[in-house]
Symmetry: D2
């Protein structure tokens, strides 16, 4: 069973070898603890180069749910809420982490995993007095949980809508690597940094052992976050471990290379499905694709591959989710393509 | 400045090379996420062998504050409190993490970092009605924050006191490696596992890149903890990273070797201080020692070494804290010994 | 403006005179604080007579949101959720109190303010692992927020569904007085007490100055609740004030008389609307009615009466909400009926 | 047993008759809910007249623990702490309400229930980095829990110390009525309002059925507090009930009359103890006195009176606490005085 090839997710392997090398090279140097080390410092400098914003305040944490709950509960007052898609990761797959930190999530019905400004405005308009929470933030994921990607125009529109409604914009970038390198979208880290009040750059799903880099737009937004990290158990004693991930990812563009590889592998798969006449539940543009295939084919494929059956459409057909990553081998893709022919 | 030798703490370096090797060897095997991987499984089996208790329920988390807040708030009801020494890590160095998770800490004045059963009983007796919190747990650290170690007899006494007062006993083992290998104390992991309702085995301060292994005495105590880990942002997607630390530490007794090395280095330092006529603020038995030296000597030493001035005793004398670790080189110790002669 | 007659809600006046009398009669007797007084004791005895369950554990609190957040967060573990209608009071009108206490609300689309067992089962089935919250309670309101009332058969079905899914059933009885005295439904407090694990009897909306009586089915469910009340700031020093409300309400059936009066007044209004050919958004059975009337009529009525425009149906028609209470005078009803003719 | 005269506390009776009268007079007027009524409005105007600060933002809540937890957790960020005496009500008699709302309390050893600026400064100085909480508020009680009262000079000193350390000053005025009317101290509500950032005026212990009036120095400090009140279950539907208490207390100086009466009764008792040669644990200046008497006398007195034995000094002597109130009859005092002769 372990010998099946897995397309279940983008965190089935350890780390890209270059990241392990960075860990090894820096391993025995004595460094200060809790993120005050020189490795974190260098990593932050590389990221700031990418954001183009010298005021960026960067904090490394170990995972996505941790990043989401820390950012949201740091920035909101107790009675303030966050607006998200009903498919948003914070709503469906974080065991109520946001509510446990004290905040309601106001939901917008998604379209291919995305929200739009009509949805935001409707929620703002419906919350009128102190018997209801006060919406104060918009949360989106880029890529979304359904593999789609907001275009630059869509992000600008959402960002403007947030500004005019006094809402903060928070972009969950667990899969930002594949979003920024998708051939379907023209978008840079600089754009993200300009449009969001706070976002994070996912390491875990793009080749790191662990780690997400939270980027606040300025120190006013991040004020006290160093205390909050420690209080919530998110400040690693050997912060250098997190720094090493992002140093390796950003000093020579590894971050983009890995995202590109994942996208190329997924695109190759998607092409094959299209060529064989299959359609998709959502248009494939990143490293998560959702082809619609006969149940019989899905069953055959599970003999050799691991993946999620996302949805049963009817007695005969299912949507499956296939996820590629930095570690996906082209030979796996080729083999899979043969198996769907 | 970076070239000074640091005795500031036991987390100044990365990981022991054998741990990095384990990471590398397992790196490209596809594994399930969130701790369901085969590496975590193996690591748990090795730990259970050490605890001697097949009912042990083990969970890996990234750091000590995280372990403390998760365990305490998982086991206590909102109005229940935890009893600790006034020098306890949860009281003084976790940015109010326990209170932020909702619980009061009832303090016992420490003696060399330890509490005793008179202190526990006094707190229990003082809490009599629903206008006060209800003490429900005792927290101790082994080694303590002042480098001392509870003897087996002391632990048994505390454990019995807890049972008779219906209190859970939680042992913070951030430095359990040096406690179990101290020449001053005869104590095994089996003893700890028998006496505590829950404890954790510190990886971070004993050679791991990160990671603490929380051990509940049985599944009743740990019920729902898998949900709670995820909700609090403590469940790593690549749980294998944590598993690899403990697999490497426990499959060939590396855990004990590293603790022993740290203790031996500290003992050598302590001997030298004694030989030179210096006394100690607390008796040196583990990898943290607290010699009392002239301020002038302390100042001289800071030119070549990093360490904390723990306390100013008077105009002339200070207590310093020196911490050794798995990574402390004997040559550093020898050089330091020369410098205090 | 103050001289308009208000049908906005059922808490526009102070207390029924008999309640004030009870306050006055008991006023200068010295009593223990914090609910240990003889007045609370008597009130509880009367309520237990009504529930028919000597194991009932009763606690008085000052208001409905307080009761809801205390009961829900007392009974749920942090990662457990409560299931409710999307029109439920806890979802829409409590400023995120439940989420602020740490818990997600799983929503069921309502039908006339009610949920059904298909909705409950669907939520239970969709929550399968530790990346999602664990549904552990069902919350319903009786009467609902749309004035409807669950029949005994419906409640039994829900109660059984809860039992078979290991869910607690909590009934918000802010308007239980009008539910139990509605001519549309045959239901007693004994039924409620048998079917719910915990419920509360609303005083505030049925003639009391303040106060809701929380009733747990047994002491196991209420264990520690006395501590929790105090911790959350809900334990009144002069608990006697709350006791006096419920003593007056239950010693001579005032509770039922007041509910009946409110229902009769609302029914009279409803009849008049029907007679004039108007229909209703939800069938009128309690003290909240939702007639559909022309906007022009609504505007005319607002010159003399206060009430909420609940919903705009189209350019010409609106749903309005009219609420009667124990204090509604028949002359007001008669006058209003004239004004809609 | 009920026929014993109680000196246990100042909340053994209901309300002063004038307060009940106000409730009765306003009872059947229809008013808006949730504190938007005309009675609350009038009450606030009277209080603002007393504070002399038109920017005062006033909110009525039902009790002291509720006021304390709401104010403290509203004003502090999660990692910020509040400084208090180790005898402070929030530390010893609120079931961990402050910690449950997320905040650590930094303790100063009290002197007769008071703190001083050396204690404040020592705590500020000891909190230096993000591994510790960040002190952000000072909490004092006026009168203190030991019956003592801060002088105007002491309050000014504390207020200045707070300002220079960027700490908010919060005064718990559960017994402010007896503090402001003590013959030992010259202090007005205006002084309190000038020196504190936020304080509350206790109704419950000074003749009201329930209710404390929280006074923020300006709207910036109170921003969002209306939402927070609702979220925490502290916003009463019939806010008028709270308004009526404070309207009655402040429209004709009843507040001061009741405080004065309590003080006079206590002073009479204190004189008698002095005349009989007894000393006090703390100097008697308000309505709580702590005479030191033989155990045998204490035992004799318990046959006719209820009061707390505060402390056992030795085998023969105890400190008792006697509390007078607005409702204490002079005849009780006279009788008690006879009984100690």
């Amino acid at each position: 069973m372990e010998s099946k090839i897995s397309f279940k997710n983008d965190y089935s392997e350890g780390a890209h070898p270059k990241i392990l090398e960075t860990l090894i090279q820096t391993n025995l140097v004595q460094e200060p603890g809790y993120g005050a080390d020189s490795i974190c410092k260098q990593a932050k400098e590389y990221i700031i180069k990418e954001t183009g914003n010298p005021d960026s305040q960067i904090f490394f944490v170990s995972g996505g749910t941790q990043a989401n709950l820390l950012v949201i509960s740091h920035l909101l007052k107790p009675y303030e809420s966050v607006i998200a898609a009903d498919t948003g990761h914070i709503e469906v797959h974080e065991t109520g982490a946001i509510e446990n930190s004290g905040h309601k999530i106001n939901l917008i019905p998604n379209r291919e995993g995305k929200i739009n400004i009509e949805g935001i405005q409707a929620i703002v308009n419906a919350h009128t007095d102190n018997h209801m929470v006060k919406p104060a933030m918009v949360y989106i994921s880029q890529c979304t949980e359904l593999g789609s990607i907001y275009s630059k125009a869509e992000l600008m529109e959402i960002s403007n809508c947030c500004k005019s409604n006094n809402l903060l914009l928070f972009i969950d970038g667990a899969r930002l690597g594949t979003a920024l390198t998708s051939s379907a979208i023209d978008l840079t880290l600089k754009d993200i940094a300009n449009l969001a009040d706070v976002f994070y750059i996912g390491g875990t799903k793009n080749g790191a052992l662990l780690g997400e880099a939270i980027v606040f737009h300025n120190h006013k937004l991040s004020q006290g976050f160093d205390y909050y990290l420690k209080q919530k158990g998110a400040l690693m004693a050997k912060g250098r471990v997190l720094g090493a991930q992002f140093l390796a990812l950003f000093k020579d563009n590894l971050f983009y290379e890995l995202g590109t590889h994942a996208n190329v592998m997924a695109a190759k798969l998607a092409s094959a499905f299209k060529k064989n006449g299959y359609s998709f539940a959502t248009e494939p543009v990143s490293n998560q694709i959702f082809p619609i295939i006969p149940l019989s084919l899905a069953e055959k494929l599970t003999e050799k591959y691991e993946f999620y059956i996302w949805q049963k459409l009817d007695e005969q057909n299912v949507v499956i989710r296939l996820v590629s990553s930095w570690a996906t081998k082209e030979s796996w893709i080729n083999q899979f393509i043969e198996d769907i022919q």
